[in-house]
């Protein structure tokens, strides 16, 4: 019994601090450690969430997720072939363009937002482009690195066994590069989620970033905290989903690899 309790204690040791944090948040403004106007107690934030209704929050969140999904998918659709072509088919061109690509990737994505407002006008396009820009580079660079990291011996041996280019691409290069690509996609997802909020605070009429921006300009302080918590929660959920996907696909890959050996 004692051991079981200890085990549970060991399991939840990190949970204590998180609980303590929220308790402190609730108590500190009430007993005067913090100004309740600027740091409202946690219960008031929950009350604010009730007032806004779950549906409203869900709509804002889904608008943001839709934007991220479209931008991220578009970036992947473009970046993956570009990465495969540059890394696999034209390594010399890749070397030639490397400095330029690195230079372009250094442009902070949210800074491009006003440019796209000038070019396309205010609207969804600017936000999509920001997400596209922030997701494109990590995916492309890691695809190139992944393709170039495939063991040439594997390609040669596949070729000597009579595999044509298409078979080599699907059976050797893609499985070999997948791990690296997934790392890039994870980075791209984190980056684009971050940039999404930035872009939405700069100019949008809906979404989580807009919720923050709007409540800031209206002075609804509890709502700001609510939006921060919501964004953190959704960010964590997105992160875990990608991690879960990665783990599942990598397991499949390792199993396939074992079988091949």
């Amino acid at each position: 019994m004692r051991r079981l309790l200890l085990k549970i204690h060991d399991r939840f040791i990190s949970l204590y601090i998180i609980i303590a944090f929220f308790v402190l948040w609730e108590v500190a403004p009430k007993i005067g450690w913090a100004d309740p106007n600027f740091v409202p107690p946690f219960s008031r934030i929950v009350a604010e969430a009730r007032k806004l209704t779950f549906l409203r929050l869900f709509i804002e969140a889904s608008v943001s997720l839709k934007r991220i999904f479209i931008g991220f998918t578009a970036a992947s659709i473009v970046a993956l072939p570009v990465g495969f072509i540059l890394g696999g088919a034209f390594p010399k061109l890749e070397k030639f363009l490397k400095a330029l690509l690195k230079f372009l990737s250094q442009i902070p994505p949210f800074i491009l937002f006003p440019v796209f407002v000038v070019v396309f006008g205010i609207g969804e396009k600017g936000i999509y482009t920001v997400i596209f820009w922030s997701a494109f580079w990590p995916v492309m660079f890691t695809t190139v690195a992944g393709v170039q990291g495939v063991d040439p011996l594997l390609i040669k041996s596949a070729r000597s066994m009579g595999a044509n280019n298409i078979t080599i691409f699907f059976k050797v290069i893609i499985p070999g590069a997948l791990l690296s690509i997934f790392t890039g996609m994870k980075t791209a997802m984190t980056m684009s989620f971050m940039m999404l909020i930035g872009a939405e605070t700069l100019g949008a009429d809906s979404g989580l970033g807009w919720l923050i921006h709007n409540s800031q300009s209206m002075g609804f302080i509890p709502r700001i905290y609510l939006a921060v918590i919501l964004i953190a929660g959704i960010g964590l959920a997105v992160n875990y989903t990608i991690q879960w996907l990665e783990e599942n696909i990598i397991i499949w890959k390792e199993a396939g690899h074992d079988k091949a050996i």
């Binding site: 400095a99 330029l100 250094q106 442009i107 902070p108 000038v118 605070t201 923050i212």
Partner: protein, 286 residues
């Protein structure tokens, strides 16, 4: 550097002069310059084609001005001293926040990574959660807590710069082989000696990886936070130029910020490499 070291040693052993070693270094140097020139060809071509495209009306020049006009606008702003003034403010804020983070989180990382392991295990998931908080979402919270101004900007930079430093320091202290610590202890090293002779040297490469990442993040975030709310700094300068439709200047500032971030990136990558090589070569000489 490792190669050079072993090469010179080899040369000495074979009774050769060090001249071969020197030509090797010179060759390396030329190779570097060569690859630098090779890389810049693409960049130059990019700007040339941009210039040509806007001169032949392929791009609407009111929205995408040619690079010559962009550079001219940047030069005017540079001459009036405005650009340098805002750059100084941005860099000052970023540096102060970054240094503050370095002074607090590197020692924290050491403490958590070495002496307070249970505490670290309890705290780490919470810290990871805080790290994942979206900094853009936190801007208003920082504004509420600190008001808009230098303090708020420095606090934001401190917040975003501390995580890479902290986690990389912890990872660095973890990367030490336990055998090394055991060996040092069995030779009678006390905690102080253990720290300065074993833990610190082994953790330094990890720390400098963190330093590099957080320097990049600091610069990036100072621009972002100045765009979110400020009346000074490069980010604000950029936003104000875009709001007053000074389009060439706007592109010029983007170019300027990008070049600055490339410079910061290169500088800190260099620093990181220096310490990485130092670790490897010191291991080799052992």
């Amino acid at each position: 550097m490792i190669k050079q070291y072993s090469y010179s040693k080899l040369a000495r052993e074979n009774g050769e002069t060090l001249r071969t070693f020197n030509t090797d270094a010179v060759k390396n140097f030329f190779k570097k310059i060569n690859s630098f020139l090779y890389g810049s060809i693409a960049i130059i071509l990019f700007f040339l084609s941009w210039e040509a495209a806007s001169n032949y009306d392929l791009l609407p020049s009111s929205v995408v001005p040619p690079p010559t006009r962009v550079i001219a606008a940047l030069a005017v702003s540079f001459k009036s001293g405005e650009l340098v003034y805002h750059m100084k403010i941005s860099l000052f804020r970023a540096m102060l926040g970054f240094l503050l983070a370095a002074f607090i989180s590197i020692p924290m990382g050491f403490l958590l990574g070495t002496f307070f392991k249970t505490f670290e295990r309890a705290l780490l998931p919470f810290l990871r959660m805080l790290e994942k908080l979206n900094p853009f979402a936190l801007f208003p919270v920082f504004m509420i807590l600190f008001g808009i101004g230098n303090v708020e900007k420095i606090a934001i930079i401190f917040w975003v710069a501390q995580w890479p430093l902290l986690f990389n320091t912890i990872a660095g202290t973890r990367s030490i082989e336990t055998n090394m610590i055991k060996a040092a202890r069995s030779m009678g090293a006390n905690k102080k000696v253990l720290f300065f002779k074993v833990i610190l040297p082994a953790a330094v490469p990890g720390i400098f990886t963190g330093v590099k990442i957080s320097a990049q993040v600091s610069f990036f975030m100072i621009i972002a936070s100045e765009m979110a709310g400020s009346s000074q700094g490069l980010g604000w300068y950029y936003l104000s130029s875009s709001q007053s439709y000074q389009v060439p200047l706007m592109y010029g500032i983007i170019l300027f910020i990008t070049v600055l971030s490339v410079i910061i990136n290169l500088l800190f990558t260099r620093l990181e490499k220096h310490f990485l090589v130092w670790k490897e070569s010191s291991f080799q000489s052992n």
